[in-house]
Symmetry: C2
Subunit: 115 residues, 2 copies
DNA sequence: CCGGATCCCCGAAGATACTG
DNA sequence: CAGTATCTTCGGGGATCCGG
């Protein structure tokens, strides 16, 4: 197998691209819990993340097919974000990754003492 | 809960940092299969990745505690890389993520037809 | 064989201001 | 309310050369 074929073939290289966004995992986690409007979503994000960045990441995730943007034609505007079908399947990854993340945090905090 | 506390607390934000490396997932996957020397590892990576980048990523992953570098005092040098304890626990994530990645690739290829 | 040291480049993230 | 436009900054990745 030629090495170049790894792209578009290897699930890890492909998955990695989705996770490049600095906040993508957290956004997906929040949206896996509940469908949210833009401002609601922003309030649940860390302070350092500006709405500009959030807007961009949401757009990227939408283009990648992981989330769905539902826009209501009304004034004031109302837009809801939720996971798509393939995005919902990502929940399994979030579950396992969340567990590992806690173990990893525990490991970081101990470092030498057992945890 | 203050939002700033998310760092170091939230498993997703923490995990995300580990996965920022462009090839980290693939490296971890390769090393989850077998312990390898530097050049062996490089031969399994996509061509576009230079040894400089591989070296940096390995160093980062080592500093993060996910992999272990074992150096043998001999000429020519021999260095082996393998997963650490917390790195081995990451295998579960790789399994689930690999499955999802394949579904996602399938989704990307179909896009409109069912898969 | 296994890298480190440099330099460059580019894309992603942040800051700020404006809009339907 | 839910964004976009623009500018700047910053860090990671690639290329190249050097060393034990």
């Amino acid at each position: 197998m030629a090495k170049k074929e790894l792209f578009g073939l290897c699930p890890y290289v492909t998955s990695q691209k989705v996770l490049t966004g600095k906040w993508s995992l957290y956004i997906l986690y929040i949206l896996s819990q509940e469908t949210l409007r833009f401002n609601e979503l922003q309030r649940r994000m860390p302070e350092e993340m500006t709405h500009t960045t959030l807007s961009r990441q949401l757009k990227t995730l939408e283009e990648e097919g992981l989330i769905v943007r539902k826009e209501y034609a009304q004034i004031p505007p109302k837009v809801e974000y939720q996971l798509s079908e393939i995005g919902k399947k990502f929940k399994k990854v979030l579950d396992v990754l969340g567990e590992w993340g806690e173990e990893y945090i525990c490991y970081l905090n101990s470092q030498k003492t057992d945890c």
